[in-house]
Symmetry: D2
Subunit: 151 residues, 4 copies
């Protein structure tokens, strides 16, 4: 893929979101590879851009422009590190809905380089209100997630 | 516990390592709580200080001062976020050996505040050589881990 | 200095605050040294603990428990990187008031290892209200800063 | 500018490099704005992509494929924070050569949002060898930098 052809914010294809990223110095550690916690940053970028691509505006939700203010939080994350990403790599974060429930959803995610899977993850996200307590996922999101579940 | 009584680098008690940390601005996000990826930084600080407390010198291992150079890497991490940590909190990272194998070990970890568990995690660590391929864990480490397994 | 003797949150000596830190994996990059942006995290930890040692409660200020809510922000930072800090180093962040004004203050800071200066910085901090606009520094803070200016 | 029109890795225009970025959760702090140290990450992404756009391959330089291995390091950074960037903002990092010397160069940089300057910086970069000691900047880089100096 030519660099110029990479869509800012990624793109949806067959219900999965694809985000292309560069690995910079900030992502690496003294071991010469991407630091293990930083994959979770890549995954979150993927999920944020996935939501945006679905028409979900996280800032409007936080501000309560569509009802009570809600923020998304991660409830659980499991990640397998298969192969290391390195400085200067171009990688791809793929995100999809693995499971949709009323108060949470499980996102499936992969980090790939040249089609090779470097890491796989399942991240459970939920919504909280201003008091930090759980809220149902916003109805439009639940609807979209239900139609997008893939495995 | 008085602030002055907090041991730098944490301390071992009954085979578990306890590290006390402050939550700073860098750890938080716009949601007002600790960003989900940053818990993995706290966990890694706990594991590094646990190894040091056990007499394992990661720098010497990387440099190959005790045989072939090896670096520790995370193979898998599963973490449950139960309650949020917030700016300025004093938290405790507890680390223990949940399972010891020849080429890897599973570390059990918790993040606590005032005795309340905020997050629990299982992190599988392994060793790699200079070529990035798996190596057995250093023998002294395997021995120590075997004697320390607790559940 | 024995590890056990390192004060959590650092300590004031002659108007300067000294905070001892460990360099962890998260702080390093592929170059094998501490990533240049991460020194600003160390500096901010130093400033936060300096304020706490002076009796300034940033959380109470944010919540407006002592008048209008204010948050501290950095207006300017200049930092010279003299020698690299490395993985596993024990370093010290030294913080003092270099200049006190009504609406801002300049903090002098150094990062040292074994008494050798690794980096020097001047950081201008100011206060903002809930609207993001500048506010005078809280009066007790201004008073303390004025008495502590050193060069 | 349509999202799809944003060039991955940014683009050179009149000797200045323009990189468009999204602000994600990871970049923000409890104050609701981008954490001050994280601007330095944005700046470094800009400089790395600037070098790449100029045909400089940092990985090849590190590996010594074009002579002695060298790594770029920051020697000094001064940054003024004018207005805050916020979660979900689309920002632009602009990078140019402000001054070229034999052993170092000063990069001028700005972070902008919708044409408004949020932060300005001057970053002095230099090259170091495997021993961590200073080296002249690689000759092709010096040549390019000399032709690109703008103020």
């Amino acid at each position: 893929m030519a660099d110029g052809a990479v869509a800012f914010g990624g793109q949806l294809r067959d219900g999965r979101h694809h985000l292309v990223l560069r690995v910079y110095y900030e992502d690496t550690d003294v071991g010469g590879v991407v630091y293990y916690a930083n994959y979770l940053k890549f995954l979150e970028r993927g999920r944020s851009d996935f939501l945006r691509a679905l028409g979900i505006d996280q800032v409007a939700l936080m501000r309560g422009e569509a009802g009570e203010p809600v923020t998304f939080v991660a409830r659980r994350c499991e990640i397998d590190y298969l192969k290391p990403a390195r400085f200067d790599d171009v990688i791809e974060v793929v995100t999809w809905v693995a499971e949709a429930r009323g108060a949470s959803a499980v996102m499936g995610q992969e980090v790939r380089r040249d089609g090779v899977v470097l890491a796989t993850a399942l991240v459970t996200i939920a919504a909280t209100g201003a008091d930090g307590r759980p809220r149902p996922l916003p109805r439009p999101l639940r609807h979209i997630f239900n139609t997008l579940v893939c495995r």
